[in-house]
């Protein structure tokens, strides 16, 4: 395509470095705080190894050759200034080194620790609540399923299936209008009208507005 064998990753790494090279001597070498001369040298060696054109020996570099050389020259210049006490002092007066995050005090560490614990606690509570909610939801699902099974069985006249569903439903969710109502329906179908009426009435205790329950009571008593 062009006269250059560099991969897209190499190219974008070079472009990234060029952005850094626009900045201060500290930035091109990735230094902050109070680096020693040895730190500066190490940083310079690391950058050199990455951008010296020899790394790409034998490859066609096209315009990137000059760009790599410029990056190297830039790093070398930064090194030369920062490794020399006098020049570094002058440079730092104009462009101070970026500061690394300050070391926290013991109080801050303690406070941070407390906050951290509180965060954990809250998270734990949340998680417990979430679990509880999940459980309820699952239970609801099960109950709804059992109720619909019971209804279907009652409609189809499969009293045995209806009985088993209503029994399970009564075990899972006894004090429930729907459970009581379905239980009443089953008893009514089994001809146990008195017991059925008792269930319907209990259901009405829980919800007096339910039309189905009211209708069932009227059916068995002829009034009310």
């Amino acid at each position: 395509m062009d006269d250059c064998d560099l991969s897209a990753a190499d190219r974008s790494a070079i472009e990234e470095a060029e952005k850094l090279a626009q900045g201060t001597h500290w930035e091109i070498l990735g230094l902050m705080g109070e680096p020693t001369a040895t730190d500066v040298k190490r940083a310079y060696f690391a950058v050199s190894k990455r951008y010296h054109p020899d790394r790409y020996f034998g490859k066609r570099l096209g315009p990137y050759r000059a760009r790599l050389e410029a990056l190297f020259v830039r790093a070398k210049k930064a090194h030369d200034v920062l490794v020399d006490d006098e020049q570094r002092k002058q440079y730092a007066a104009k462009y101070p080194a970026p500061q690394p995050p300050r070391e926290p005090t013991p109080e801050e560490i303690a406070r941070e620790k407390r906050l951290e614990e509180r965060r954990k606690q809250i998270a734990g509570e949340r998680s417990a609540k979430r679990k509880e909610g999940l459980k309820t939801e699952l239970l609801g699902l099960k109950v709804r399923k059992l109720a619909s099974n019971a209804r279907a069985a009652l409609d189809s006249g499969d009293l045995e299936a209806a009985r088993s569903a209503v029994e399970s439903l009564s075990a899972e969710n006894p004090d429930d209008k729907e459970t009581l109502f379905l239980s009443g329906q089953l008893l009514e179908k089994q001809g146990k009208r008195v017991q059925a009426l008792a269930r319907y009435r209990a259901a009405r205790e829980l919800d007096a507005t339910d039309a189905d329950v009211t209708k069932a009571i009227q059916r068995l008593t002829g009034r009310e």
């Binding site: 190490r42 060696f45 190894k49 020899d54 790409y56 034998g58 050759r65 050389e69 020259v73």
Partner: protein, 609 residues
């Protein structure tokens, strides 16, 4: 991926290595040696000889045997160092068409890069034979203090030999790499590199796999050959006093003196004294023969050469001073180059640095190993190890007869760039001629001209009103480019400064083609056969025994005759070996065996060895 070899192209010896998973490995030549003499010769039949073969026949063929070509490479004919060397060597030098140096061998003139290419070619062959594959790329080392013209000439030599020199690196830097690679060091080291022809000192920081050269200094005309030269001069002087004969006038005698001086110097690294015996060194009249016999002690050698050693220490001092470095911060001193075997040098280095030199690097092989490591690092695009070298000389420009304006100072890490504003010196000046120079003198003439260019079509303006930005860039591989821009009009001009080796591109192309023809026609490597091994053994034995017996029997008529016959047999055997002539080798064997048994009888009678 093709392998890249590392070559240490030395003044006296060269070495080739390859980096493998287990570390660098030196590749031995056909004779089984890890280094090969940087000597080349051309026989009367036009056959090229390189290395041991060339060195051995040097005595009988001094005019056509070139040693120390590295001291002439990339240099202009008229510089005093070249002129001095030309006056000392036994081969013929002349001025080339581009103000360069040419040597005359057998039938024609050869450019110095051509001579060096023969050595590089040999190193390439050694590598190909050892690795069993074609090699076409190399990292080649040069003295740190070489200027760009010398570096370019070395690259050209590679091209002529069919080698793409992918990188030129500095010898001491290579040594530091070989010393510290993979050890996770974090320290400052000094490399004291005293080779056959050049002296270099480099100071480096090693840390996190980065080898950063901080300072370098050197002298490209200070080396082992200068020590040899001192011994030669001493022997010549003694002989002159005794016999009134100047041995320098006799090329063959000079070559024998040179070999004997080098051998004596090497011997004195291991022993306290050595005997120099050169029978039949001169023959002032028919039937008359003069012999040279001297005993050289370590102390005498130190006396002859102490100023050379002190010069090296002064250069170390300069390397520390120029980069404002403290001697005390140096944690290790590494000795490189054959000359560092000299006890006095080791002692002086220890005194100066205040610590014993580091052991554990091989002074003759460490540079080639470092070159091989760098070759591997480049080939792999290493992310862990990096060499940061410096430019050894000031680089700047001279505008119209002005002074030398330095834009990039010596010891600046490369790659680098620098910009300076220049202006016109006359009203309505239409063009500015800019000369690019390299060197450490404020006087332009004393520096090396790398190239020049003209910025023209400047608008008419009073002097001083036009601003020209001149930007110098040195890339990671040491290539210098200069961009000049007229600030007002934005008219820009960029040139790549190709340092001049003294050869034009078309000359290099011709030489490369010619060399290729030669390679296909001649240079089929031959296995060393039994005949050759036998003859070499005989030669070695007889050369050892001859000085001892000659002292005893030289006076007698019988003895003189026997010695003369033996000497002739030795020369014949050497010529046969040098020319690789099988028949002549077989013929030379008989007389040598007879002479050897006779001498053995003599020494047995004397109760000697």
């Amino acid at each position: 991926m093709n392998k890249i070899i590392g070559i240490d192209l030395g003044t006296t010896n060269s070495c080739v290595a390859i980096a493998e998973r287990t570390g660098p490995r030196v590749l031995a030549n056909r004779q089984g040696h890890n280094t090969t003499p940087s000597v080349i010769a051309v026989t009367e039949t036009g056959k090229r000889l390189v290395g041991q073969l060339a060195k051995r026949q040097g005595i009988t063929n001094p005019k056509n045997t070139i040693h120390g070509a590295k001291r002439l490479i990339g240099r202009r004919w008229e510089v005093p160092e070249v002129q001095r060397m030309v006056s000392l060597v036994s081969f013929v030098c002349m001025e080339g068409p581009h103000n360069d140096v040419r040597v005359h061998l057998a039938d024609r003139g050869y450019a110095i890069p051509e001579v060096s290419s023969m050595v590089l070619q040999e190193m390439k062959l050694i590598a190909e034979q050892q690795l069993g594959e074609t090699i076409s790329q190399a990292v080649v080392t040069v003295p740190a203090y070489f200027n760009d013209n010398q570096r370019q000439a070395t690259k050209d030599a590679g091209a002529i030999a069919g080698l793409d020199v992918v990188r030129i690196i500095n010898e001491p830097t290579a040594a530091a790499l070989a010393y510290g690679y993979g050890k996770g060091l974090e320290q400052r080291v000094a490399i004291y590199d005293f080779g056959g022809g050049t002296f270099d000192v480099s100071i480096l920081n090693i840390g996190q796999g980065v080898f950063e050269v901080l300072s370098t200094a050197g002298d490209t005309f200070l080396g082992g050959e200068d020590f040899d030269e001192r011994i030669i001069e001493w022997l010549r002087g003694e002989f002159m006093r005794e016999h009134g004969i100047d041995l320098r006038q006799d090329k063959m005698a000079l070559q024998r003196l040179r070999d004997a001086a080098e051998k004596a110097k090497i011997d004195l690294s291991a022993q306290n004294e050595t005997d120099i015996n050169l029978p039949f060194i001169s023959s002032p009249a028919k039937g008359q023969a003069l012999h040279l016999q001297r005993r050289l002690t370590r102390d005498k050698l130190v006396e002859l050469t102490s100023d050379l050693i002190e010069r090296s220490i002064a250069i170390c001092e300069k390397a520390f001073k120029s980069a404002d470095l403290k001697l005390a911060e140096t944690k290790s001193v590494i000795l490189v180059g054959g000359m560092t075997r000299m006890p006095r040098i080791q002692q002086r280095v220890q005194e100066y640095f205040g610590m014993p030199p580091s052991k554990g690097v091989h002074p003759d092989e460490v540079v080639a190993c470092g070159a091989a490591i760098q070759a591997q690092l480049l080939a792999e695009g290493s992310q862990d190890t990096l060499l940061l070298d410096v430019t050894p000389h000031n680089l700047g420009i001279v505008v119209a007869g002005g002074l030398f304006d330095v834009l990039i100072a010596k010891d600046t890490t490369i790659p680098t760039s620098s910009t300076k504003v220049f202006t016109t010196v006359r009203d309505n000046q239409a063009q500015v001629r800019i000369m690019v120079m390299q060197g450490d003198s404020a006087v332009p003439q004393q520096n090396e001209l790398l190239g020049e260019f003209v910025l023209d079509q400047l608008p008419s303006k009073p002097r001083g009103e036009i601003q020209i930005d001149v930007t110098f860039t040195i890339s990671a591989d040491g290539i210098v480019s200069v961009a000049a821009k007229d600030v007002a009009t934005g008219r820009a001009q960029t040139i790549q400064v190709t340092a001049s080796s003294g050869l034009t591109p078309s000359e290099i192309a011709d030489m490369t083609a010619e060399n290729q023809d030669y390679v296909t026609a001649f240079a089929k490597p031959t296995e060393k056969d039994a005949e050759q091994v036998d003859l070499e053994g005989l030669l070695k034995d007889i050369e050892q025994i001859m000085p001892k017996v000659s002292a005893v029997i030289a006076g007698t008529e019988f003895g003189t005759e026997a010695l003369k016959k033996a000497a002739a047999a030795v020369e014949r055997a050497k010529a046969a070996l040098a020319g690789n002539q099988r028949d002549a080798m077989a013929l030379a064997k008989g007389p040598l065996q007879r002479a050897l048994s006779l001498f053995k009888t003599v020494t047995a009678k004397l109760g000697g060895p």
